[in-house]
Point group: D2
Chain length 137, copies 4
């Protein structure tokens, strides 16, 4: 997120069942943290992931890049920050970073690219389209 600003953040704590036999949060669990933060962000804007699904719209990832910088462990608190950008006509990108609290050590950087699907065809829900056009998300 070099030079950019995040527009949403969510503070969470590690749950012990998220740690694996190495005693650190398992690599797959970060995708859970990232997704949950994206959904909370969308909800804060009035866009509900489950509600969209019931209306026939599915938001799906097409690509995800994850850079693991330092591990989270049992007892750690952390913040997930994000910024939403337009990636292409039909794709959006979430730039997300996780920092451990309170020392703000960088834990993970990610870029999650996605699109919308309606009846199996790529298209963005109008509300998300509007968000991306405002360019201020």
């Amino acid at each position: 997120m070099s030079g950019g600003k995040y527009c949403f953040e969510l503070e969470l704590g590690v749950r012990d069942y998220e740690c694996d036999l190495q005693g650190v949060v398992n690599n797959a669990v970060y995708l859970n943290y990232l997704e949950h933060t994206r959904h909370e962000y969308l909800k804060s804007l009035g866009l509900d992931f489950a509600g969209l699904h019931q209306q026939g719209w599915d938001l799906v990832l097409t690509r995800c890049e994850l850079d693991y910088r330092s591990p989270l462990r049992s007892g750690d608190r952390f913040v997930v920050r994000l910024r939403l950008e337009r990636e292409s006509r039909l794709r959006f990108a979430f730039l997300q970073e996780i920092y451990r609290l309170p020392d703000q050590r960088l834990v993970l950087q990610a870029k999650a690219i996605g699109t919308g699907l309606i009846q199996g065809r790529p298209a963005l829900p109008p509300e998300l389209q509007a968000l991306l056009e405002r360019g201020t998300v």
Copy 2:
């Protein structure tokens, strides 16, 4: 399952991400193993959990009892065995046991009681009803 017979079994192996910071399979993961085995059993009888959901039928748990006898660890293989019984007019019960392989050490005993729901009301799908009436599942 004292005195009883199981009617289905599924052999599986521990996946490392299923182990927690104690180095053993996390307590919640056994419910995943049990559910997966129930669904494979139903599928072997032509009953598809996801397909039922799409037809409006949901199979749901109402109660689950778990006795943890010994832990599973990274690298362990195991078998999940089950027997299906009628619990009451609208409830069925899966008696399930997990044994480590190859030494057949008992890992877990469980009783999972469930029912069916259609449009939010308890009822058993006709195929399951038929199964339970045959009494030989």
Copy 3:
């Protein structure tokens, strides 16, 4: 928890990845909620699950009973309440209930019985022993 009092509670929200293809929180995920609440409770008393493990003490479940009363769905908030009791000389029991917020509809009742292990032998860590003896947890 009929007639009893809970001594700790934790408020949480459903995360969308915790819901399964039926659109409700998967049955195994409730064990995650229950475990996380127990660990937060122990931490509030100065007992750290991961720290105990590093000192050679493992707290493990020996039995769990779960009564599923009503489902949680995407977007739901809920509270997990608990009470700790002595079950036998070497066993403790957590009585736990989950209620949906804000309507306080009962979601799940559970009894999680556990013990401690040190070098593979059942024993309670002194701090937990003290807690149970005070009888006021």
Copy 4:
């Protein structure tokens, strides 16, 4: 994996609890599939992830790129294929692909880059070092 050859594959089936409210395998679960396949591959070469951890060696991911091509659903079977390459002096890369069976439709392409840690310092376990030097993995 354009032009390359995989050197290991593992056939698996979707488990219903791995599907989310959209009815497809959740994006994070693919990391579980990928990790499990890597660990089975290492095990096939005599390298045990959990055993390495107990000897003080931790294999960790530093970066992961995932391209989601088509979803997996309840009932699907699939194969995870992989190839191991040296990425840099202290880094290895797993090139992994998931194909649905039996139609071999491409589901996911991934590159998982990792390193080893001993006492918190990057280093490759000698067995893995040897593997990478043989260059034929």
